[in-house]
């Protein structure tokens, strides 16, 4: 495990994550045309065991599985892309793997601007909307004065 602090690793981790978390339909809309590629590992559906920690902080335990789909591709120019996405959408996994490969080519600035930028912004908006609704249900306690000489 190379929990690398290299900036390239951190950047790649970020874009693979943004592609994996993208709503599949939205990713397809933002990246409709894919370049020529070959499958190194055709999309495969499986599971990942999700773990929690005892008391939130202690030893790990198995909470239950979630479905995932993984895929690996190689572009004709040689770049290799990988994806592991939540759910059972094979087209999503393939498209995410191609996008990961494209991010390692000269097309990276274009993909970053046209695909990753909107995905990140929309994810942040969706998160902010939920956080805003939650904030509206936050209890603001006030103390009632009791007794005669209030």
């Amino acid at each position: 495990m190379s929990q690398s602090s290299q900036p390239e690793t951190a950047a790649r981790r970020d874009w693979i994550s943004a592609l994996a978390k993208a709503p599949p339909g939205r990713l397809a809309a933002l990246l409709p045309e894919l370049p020529a590629y070959e499958m190194l590992r055709a999309p495969e559906i499986g599971t990942v065991m999700v773990q929690g920690r005892i008391g939130g902080t202690g030893a790990p335990f198995n909470l239950g599985e979630m479905t995932v789909t993984r895929c690996s591709v190689r572009l004709s120019e040689g770049a290799v892309g990988h994806a592991c996405v939540q759910g059972r959408n094979k087209a999503h996994a393939a498209r995410a793997a191609v996008a990961d490969a494209l991010m390692q080519t000269g097309a990276a600035p274009q993909i970053a601007a046209q695909v990753l930028g909107p995905l990140r912004q929309e994810a942040a908006e969706a998160r902010a909307t939920r956080a805003g609704k939650a904030a509206a249900t936050r209890v603001e306690f006030f103390t009632m004065l009791r007794g005669e000489d209030a």
């Binding site: 599971t47 773990q51 939650a134």
Partner: protein, 360 residues
């Protein structure tokens, strides 16, 4: 004795065809879509995911539709499907302190960092039927407020600062897996939590309630209950580093329970823990009460004979698929077994009558 078991095929086919028709119901009523079930029966979907032990809302919605709304049957379908899938690995333990909370309440502290956030709760509703829902309509948008950009730390951490509560120091003992090795007793707490996370909600609720009524009482307060989304991070071998591949909604409950002290350690609160897939706070609270009750030995308490303290009893009966599998099998043909019983009873009666006659 061999009894022919052929002859039921035609009847079975007809039964299944009728089942499909009954499942659809009156064809003049529009058919449910999976998206409708997923979006509008979300808590049923959550329960099927939690007890099916597989997080996939679309699959759970399909299972509910196929099972005609019988949630245990739906859990059965999910468990069966799960066995057909390869497992690629395990996630890193999720960080529930970093949860994007929809709801977060504490029954022990009024004022706490991050605040009391009610979220989309049934609490404080009057439990009066809302006939407006019988008509179609879109609810008005929920109000929004500026979200403070502040962390929402675990409440137990506040008590821990003063040493008032039992610690759960981080460690990385590999978690035992109930789905890979047969259950062996005594079970570790990690194994018990896995079993409880997928346990039947009703069974867990009843056991938890029994502890409140005195059968293994642990004096639980809900230190914290939180519902929200956490990122799932997985190490991808082809990359050599971990990435967030998605998000799951979880419900977490931390209870603060009666003290424990010893000659060497001053008294401090103890804890129970519940973590459940989806939004399921009844289950999460129940789980943490049962978890705590099962810890009697570790915490040096007395075994009072309460069911919730009995690990063998709890773990052997909490799984509704195991339970229903064994329970429902007795309705299937047992002609040969019963024939043997019948022979036996007849012989015993004959012998009893002969003995009586001989005595007279």
């Amino acid at each position: 004795m061999y009894v022919a078991v052929k002859g039921g095929e035609r009847a079975i086919d007809a039964a299944h065809a009728w089942l499909a028709e009954e499942r659809r119901g009156d064809p003049s009523v529009p058919e449910l879509t999976l998206a409708q079930i997923r979006e509008q029966m979300a808590l049923a979907v959550n329960r099927v995911m939690a007890e099916g032990s597989l997080y996939d809302p679309d699959l759970a919605a399909l299972a509910i539709k196929q099972a005609r709304g019988d949630l245990i049957e739906a859990v059965f379908l999910i468990r069966a499907y799960r066995t057909t899938l390869p497992r690629f690995g395990a996630s890193r333990p999720v960080d529930t302190a970093a949860m994007a909370v929809d709801r977060r309440v504490s029954a022990t502290f009024k004022d706490l960092p991050g605040g009391q956030v009610l979220g989309p709760t049934f609490d404080y509703t009057h439990r009066l039927l809302d006939f407006a829902l019988a008509a179609e309509g879109t609810p008005p948008p929920a109000p929004m407020a500026p979200a403070p950009d502040e962390p929402v730390p675990h409440v137990t951490g506040l008590l821990d600062r003063d040493g008032l509560i039992e610690r759960q120091p981080a460690e990385d003992t590999p978690a035992p897996d109930l789905t890979r090795q047969p259950l062996e007793l005594p079970a570790s707490r990690a194994l018990r939590l896995q079993a409880l996370a997928r346990a039947d909600e009703g069974f867990t609720l009843s056991l938890a309630y029994s502890t409140q009524r005195g059968y293994g009482r642990t004096h639980a307060f809900v230190g914290e209950l939180r519902i929200g989304r956490v990122a799932v991070e997985v190490e991808l071998p082809e990359l050599g580093f971990a990435v967030e591949i998605g998000e799951v909604e979880l419900t977490e409950c931390d209870t603060v329970n009666q003290f424990k002290g010893s000659k060497t350690e001053p008294p401090q609160f103890t804890r129970g823990y519940g973590l459940v897939m989806g939004q399921s706070e009844r289950k999460a609270i129940s789980m943490s009460l049962v978890d705590r009750a099962l810890r009697w030995q570790e915490l040096g308490e007395d075994f009072t004979g309460a069911p919730a303290q009995d690990e063998e009893f709890v773990l052997s009966h909490c799984d509704n698929i195991q339970s229903t599998g064994f329970l429902e099998h007795i309705k299937l043909p047992h002609y040969v077994d019963f024939q043997a019983e019948l022979e036996l009873v007849r012989r015993m009666r004959r012998e009893a009558v002969q003995m009586q006659e001989a005595a007279e």
